[in-house]
Point group: C2
Chain length 467, copies 2
């Protein structure tokens, strides 16, 4: 225990110290948990943890070592463990799940909505999954199995089956009475009521604040507005796009026959948006899925593939340089300056491709405006290439005092920046058309082109102009 | 008009063609709008536009040229114009606002919640702002001015003043009766009721689905749960973090004295999360704020600053190379191979820094685990450097048949990958400590280090080992 912690009076309520004013766990609190885990002091651990929000327990797990997590899991109250599971990083969740008995897990999962419970069960190994499911009541088990029947990353997997539906002929009063009498069947939280026809097909939706506001005699049919229906097989990225675009709080999910089978709420969508953004940003940097909890080899595995691919493109660029051995031997200044052309081209390419990948993801770059965007990029490449090329030509002139060398590098920069703009925009578009994720493969191709064009144009022009 | 459009029968309802099944505007629909705008056919324009969702009108604007937008703005119904304004990209919004008279704008803004109206007014030029505000009713004007009194990017600016508050001594029945009688004072949509004490300080919150479910005699004090209060001066990024972490749908905003002054809802938060992610991803790529609507010079302005900085670091790297003129003249293979070391180092640095920037943003990298993360990165650098270095040494051996040259490049790759891991992790952390945005400046510093260390280690080792 650190000195400052030792000096703290014992009577200060520990809950007040867990979080600082930014809702971050304080180092002092994390240390207390570590100390209690080291001492195997379960009573103290439980008193430290029991009043935390599940999201804070999940954060805490991320700051602990694997050994300390093992102790904490044992002492977490079961309901809190259940609510913490959906909040954990995948890597940490896998580890925690291995340490919990199927019986405890089966009890814990019954506390969760069907979508959250299914998200936990899908991560279990086959054997453990079987054991957990068979220890659950039949109805909960059926709900989870039906959820897992939908492909990963679809609306079916994301939705909760609990939903508030009302027949179209009901009044506001009927609906409120129904809610009061049917408490147990309903979702714990809901934000919209879905109005359905006799075939259970949604015909409208009503935000519950409208329901509160209306008189009891008002007919639902007069209050409802059209809803954006989600189909069970829609991709979660598509669902997130619809929620974001139309500012939805919840939306009904329908099956292939158009019948209401569940709902998706915006809190799940926030997670998906963050997850998709995280993936995009890491993929653009050449990092495949990397969990915070990953050990050294987890991180190595997530980063080395793109480094190996990059080794290939870098060697290719060296082969291009090798074509100009004569020029390099004749004039060593070429060797000194040539990385500048490739480096600036690489950066301009990264700019263009990042803008293009974002625009594709947010559907701002479509066939309706492709031509206009591409011609704008070419103009930008010409202008930036001209400016940066002129600057670099000036630097080279001052440094080497050779006007033709300056001309060569200026032109090479101009050519490479136009190539960078074009490649950075077109490569993501082509990959998207081929149904590939543009964030994954674009950087490789663009770097390849800017390196090769950079060395080829600079050394090639040097051969023509200088030697 | 294109051939396919000309062949379509006139009687098909145009609304059904505006969006395809992915909720994207169809090129055919955009073309119809363009044709109508070209013909100056206002009646047809209005019939095309009037049933669109404001978010779709905003998308449409993004696909039009500035000239066509000018025509469309004139024919948009005023209420639809009002609701479209908050959905527009900043660049396009500025342009649209210049084309609308203060009177029309003042009428339109009264249709919006106070936060959305303020967001539009803040973008106006001083003169136009004065004209619009003085054309508005006093109460609406006061609401907007009070909102604009809070600094940009704070909770005060983000919140809406309309909020559903109930005294702590009320019952569920009192609350529902109040909602039914006070319709006009309340927000159009609300998701939680805030329970306040006599000083108007929030003491709890109740999701309205709980209110529906409870009996009329239930006391609010028995139903409410603690709420996460937001203070007016909190940064919007901080607010988004709290919403995301605790899965909030809405939250009360309090002033410095702790009194309830407004609420923030999750739909605003989704926009902020997307905006912050967009900024992060573009900044990492060296692009400052770039609007889709920007013309060539807008794009140039957003990209050229980082290219100029990059020119500086690239010239610095060339100066490093210049130190080894003798070595390069003695052995041209050095010139051929040296870009490989810098390129792989640059990529490894980008990987490490992107992971670190993300971890800082999501608060997964804090003082509690910094040491552990940094030592993991060093191990990753050693392992990846060893692997890629060995591969490159092999390639160089096959290519040039010089064992010592292979050894040199292998070692240089190893050294540079460790440097990349360290710089990529520590530079963002240091920038964050200095209260700088790590996404903006980290890439410059990291590239600088990987370029310099790359050339220095390869050419320096070559001098020692080879020559």
């Amino acid at each position: 225990m650190s000195d400052t912690a030792a000096l703290e009076p014992e009577y200060i309520n520990e809950d007040h110290e867990a979080l600082d004013e930014d809702y971050e766990l304080t180092p002092a609190f994390v240390e207390k948990v570590v100390d209690a885990a080291d001492d195997g002091d379960g009573i103290r651990l439980r008193s430290l943890l029991e009043d935390l929000h599940p999201a804070d327990v999940a954060d805490l797990m991320g700051f602990l070592t694997s050994e300390h997590r093992a102790v904490v899991v044992i002492w977490l109250p079961p309901e809190l463990l259940a609510e913490t599971l959906p909040e954990l990083d995948d890597g940490i969740r896998d580890e925690v799940l291995e340490r919990v008995t199927p019986g405890t897990l089966a009890t814990a999962l019954q506390e969760l909505d069907s979508d959250d419970a299914a998200a936990v069960v899908e991560d279990l190994e086959d054997e453990q999954r079987e054991a957990v499911l068979s220890a659950m009541p039949l109805l909960d088990r059926a709900a989870i199995e039906s959820s897992l029947g939908y492909p990963e990353d679809t609306a079916g997997r994301l939705m909760q089956r609990e939903v508030m539906a009302a027949p179209v002929f009901w009044t506001v009063g009927d609906t409120i009475d129904h809610v009061r009498s049917q408490q147990d069947e309903l979702p714990e939280l809901f934000f919209d009521i879905y109005v359905v026809d006799p075939l259970n097909k949604p015909v409208g939706g009503i935000p519950i604040s409208w329901l509160l506001r209306a008189g009891r005699d008002m007919k639902l049919a007069d209050l409802m507005e059209p809803v954006n229906e989600i189909t069970v097989d829609q991709d979660q990225e598509e669902v997130a796009y619809i929620f974001e675009k139309y500012h939805l709080i919840s939306a009904p999910v329908i099956d292939a026959a158009g019948r209401l089978v569940g709902q998706i709420t915006v809190d799940d969508i926030v997670n998906i948006i963050q997850e998709e953004n995280r993936e995009d940003i890491l993929r653009l940097a050449g990092v495949s899925d990397e969990s915070r909890a990953a050990g050294v080899f987890g991180v190595v595995r997530s980063r080395i593939p793109w480094l190996i691919v990059n080794l290939g493109t870098a060697v290719f660029a060296s082969l291009v340089i090798g074509l100009f051995e004569g020029e390099l031997e004749a004039l060593v200044s070429l060797a000194i300056l040539m990385p500048v052309v490739a480096s600036i081209g690489g950066n301009a390419g990264t700019q263009a491709l990042t803008v293009a990948v974002r625009a594709l993801a947010s559907r701002e770059l479509t066939s309706s405006n492709l031509l206009r965007i591409v011609s704008r990029e070419v103009m930008v490449g010409l202008f930036n290439g001209g400016t940066i090329g002129a600057l670099m030509a000036g630097v080279a002139w001052v440094w080497f005092g050779m006007p033709l060398l300056s001309l060569t590098i200026g032109l090479a920069v101009l050519i490479n920046l136009v190539a960078a703009s074009l490649a950075g925009t077109l490569i993501p578009v082509v990959l998207e058309r081929l149904d590939r994720d543009p964030a994954v493969a674009s950087p490789v191709f663009v770097t390849w082109i800017t390196d090769s064009v950079g060395f080829l144009s600079f050394l090639g022009l040097a051969g023509l102009i200088l030697l």
